[in-house]
């Protein structure tokens, strides 16, 4: 018989080796799937690495995928610390994109303030979108997993309505997208890539800033207490709802920034929601989970998922593996990580 004996306070070393073991386990399982698909797993993994981390053009793809994951992931670590299970980053990202698009297309702002205004607008829109769920949770006790998830669909259809109706481009011939943003509303990119460097820089600054906030500031302390033990927080005179509201603005705002980066840096227009968000809102859950609630660690985990996504493209292009392989791959990793949680919190005992 196998028994699980709970560990009161799992040491950091245990967290690390269990996480690494879970990753290795996932790689083995995914390798078996490659084998079943008729591809040598070693060939597959080496192709993935060669196409991503061996040269600059590979890295540029990792960064293109990693940048939105980083921003969203950072915001999510904060939300998860506050025990606020935000799975609505897709929708918050879209709201950021919508706000950026609205500002770029319809406001007469001078070129110099255009991009900053788009970022501010996008962060506010994403934050307010998350705030709806936080408000419903604190005032009406509605489960935030449901509301954030459902708000994704509302955001999706809001965007479709806009680009199919009032914001539809002039020369799109029946397709649904907006006009192109003016040049000065397009983000500068690293040369020869689609990586908007201002977005990337924002991500790095936010990761450092929020790590400091969580570990060193009163606000961060309040957030952690409110998350881990709301009763104690109340007893200590912390307003849990006000903490949650601030947190929602940050987690949603970070996703909103990612949305601004996608439309201003890559597409230069508003287009179908699934093509803007590309599932980043969900993939970033893995980024935040791997980072174990540490914004700074997202600087490692986001590029890691970036390698997996960009590597999936390589598998698709160079080895002609079916296009679903990337989804299967990241799915296996997430499942394995979540399942490994039991080994972090428990010691396994064999026998009676």
């Amino acid at each position: 018989m196998i028994r699980f004996v709970p560990i009161a306070d799992p040491p950091r070393g245990r967290v690390i080796w269990v996480t690494l073991a879970a990753l290795v386990f996932a790689l083995v399982v995914a390798g078996l799937i490659f084998l079943a698909a008729g591809t040598n797993p070693f060939e597959a993994y080496s192709a993935m690495l060669q196409g991503t981390v061996s040269d600059w053009s590979g890295w540029s793809e990792v960064l293109r995928r990693g940048t939105p994951l980083l921003l969203i992931g950072i915001g999510l670590t904060l939300a998860f610390r506050a025990q606020f299970f935000n799975i609505g980053a897709e929708g918050q990202l879209l709201l950021g994109a919508i706000a950026a698009g609205g500002i770029a297309l319809f406001t007469p702002l001078p070129p110099l303030v255009m991009l900053p205004a788009m970022f501010v607008g996008g962060a506010l829109a994403g934050g307010l979108w998350a705030l709806i769920a936080a408000f419903l949770k604190t005032r009406l006790r509605v489960n935030e997993i449901l509301t954030t998830l459902m708000l994704n669909y509302v955001a999706t259809y809001l965007l479709i309505y806009l680009i199919n109706g009032p914001w539809k481009g002039k020369n799109v011939r029946g397709f649904i997208y907006s006009d192109d943003f003016p040049d000065f509303a397009q983000l500068p990119t690293l040369p020869g890539t689609q990586v908007g460097w201002p977005t990337l820089l924002l991500g790095v600054l936010l990761a450092v800033g929020l790590q400091w906030f969580l570990g060193r500031s009163t606000g961060g302390y309040e957030l952690r207490v409110a998350g881990e033990n709301p009763e104690a927080a109340r007893y200590a005179g912390i307003s849990v709802s006000s903490v949650l509201f601030k947190m929602a603005m940050v987690t949603g705002g970070a996703a909103g920034l990612a949305g601004v980066g996608e439309v201003a840096g890559i597409h230069h227009k508003l287009l179908e929601p699934s093509q803007i968000s590309s599932g980043y809102g969900f993939t970033a859950v893995i980024v935040a989970w791997l980072a174990r609630g540490n914004p700074l660690l997202c600087l490692i985990t986001a590029p890691l998922m970036g390698i997996i996504l960009a590597g999936g493209d390589v598998l698709k292009i160079n080895l002609n593996l079916p296009f679903r392989i990337t989804d299967v791959f990241s799915g296996v990793i997430l499942m394995s990580l979540i399942a490994s949680e039991i080994f972090v919190k428990n010691r396994v005992k064999w026998g009676k």
């Binding site: 029946g174 179908e272 093509q275 292009i317 160079n318 002609n320």
Partner: protein
């Protein structure tokens, strides 16, 4: 130590020389294809992939590579990788890749690009299309003749010129065979989405449609029609096997005709990276790039051929069987003779004259078409008021 280094260097140099020589000997032309859907969609992308395979078989000096399910907003990074893999010709096979293809053409001036279904070109970027509007007219005649309720269902993807031209040609055919009939249209705003196609098909059927055609890339429309036992049409590819007793005819494409022609001209130096700005393939029945049929070389299934022989329509004051009319027009258009579905006078559904008497539409008009023909019922985006 230095001896070993020298030896190693020599060995390396030798291998390098050997590989370059080998490379020079079997220098093949490498053509790469980007598909919007999975190759297993049984429709659009599948048909392109069949064309790729046929070209590879026919041209011994050709080497190909493909990438499936590339989202329309993300073609550029894929093209970057293909360029790195040594692709010399890149085919991008969806309208939505247009701007990315043009950007790539400017970024890689030494690669030849060919964009499918679009209208932007460059010195090193051609466009190509095997268009169905003639075939849609023929199938419209059959659909009109077979509908008892007078309602024919059409599942549309995006309300762009391509679809409007197909829908309108189809509606003109339906009206010619059955003046009282209408074509009810529903849009799904996606190229490949079996779930939405099923919903739209079922909605059309519950509105009373008793003949159905779907422009989506999968066989879902044909399957839904089969489940309700009503006549339907193959789309882009033979779909007879999905509903053997319900497929009447259909629109089938032969992309290989275009691919083989284009690649041969690249190989023999006719097409270069400098002279493609005016190269636009617009291939119809006369070039054999498209075909009317339920299956390859099968214009009608036996059961429906009998029904269409029994159905009559008026042509120039005389009563002829719909079967004979379709067969005659198909033969005419295959030979490249004068018949064209959009021969004026053609009014749009709001009564505005769009093609004057005796005139036909130019390729440019067909590619910019925003109006729809009479008989189309249902919302159509971007329809001009005047």
């Amino acid at each position: 130590m230095s001896k070993i280094t020298k030896l190693l260097a020599l060995a390396l140099a030798l291998t390098a020389a050997a590989t370059t020589q080998a490379g020079a000997q079997d220098a093949k032309l490498k053509a790469c294809f980007i598909y919007v859907g999975p190759t297993g969609d049984i429709g659009w992308s599948y048909a392109h992939d069949q064309g790729r395979k046929a070209a590879e078989k026919a041209l011994p000096w050709l080497e190909t590579q493909y990438v499936e399910s590339v989202p329309e907003g993300q073609a550029l990074p894929v093209i970057d990788r293909l360029a790195k893999n040594g692709c010399q010709v890149i085919f991008t096979t969806s309208f939505g890749y247009m701007d990315d293809t043009l950007a790539a053409a400017k970024k890689y001036p030494n690669i030849i690009f060919a964009h499918n279904a679009g209208f932007k070109r460059n010195a090193n970027m051609a466009t190509y299309m095997a268009d169905f509007y003639q075939v849609y007219y023929l199938n419209g005649l059959a659909a009109g003749a077979l509908s008892k309720s007078g309602k024919v269902g059409f599942v549309g993807t995006y309300p762009i010129p391509e679809l409007k031209r197909h829908l309108s040609a189809f509606a003109l055919g339906v009206k010619a065979a059955n003046p009282k009939a209408s074509v009810n249209v529903k849009w799904i705003n996606s190229w490949f989405d079996p779930a939405k196609t099923r919903e739209a098909s079922e909605a059309l059927l519950s509105e009373g449609a008793d003949v159905l055609t779907s422009a989506e890339d999968s066989a879902t429309g044909v399957q839904t029609a089969g489940a309700k036992n009503i006549p339907t049409f193959s789309h882009y590819n033979p779909m007879l096997k999905f509903s053997p007793s319900n497929v009447v005819s259909g629109h089938i494409v032969h992309w290989d005709k275009i691919y083989i022609d284009f690649l041969t001209k690249v190989h023999n130096g006719t097409y270069t990276t400098k002279n493609l700005a005016n190269v636009d393939y617009w291939w119809l029945l006369s070039k054999g790039a498209v075909e009317m049929g339920a299956d390859m070389n099968m214009p009608f299934t036996v059961k429906f051929a009998a029904q269409l022989k029994a159905a009559k329509m008026m042509v120039g004051g005389k009563s002829v069987s719909v079967y004979d009319r379709i067969t005659a027009l198909n033969a005419q258009m295959k030979k490249g003779e004068s018949f064209d579905p959009f021969t004026g006078p053609v009014k749009d559904r709001n009564g505005v004259l769009r093609v004057p008497a005796g005139k036909t539409m130019s390729i440019g008009d067909l590619n910019n078409m925003s109006w729809v023909a009479p008989g189309v019922v249902g919302q159509v985006a971007d329809e001009p008021k005047k």
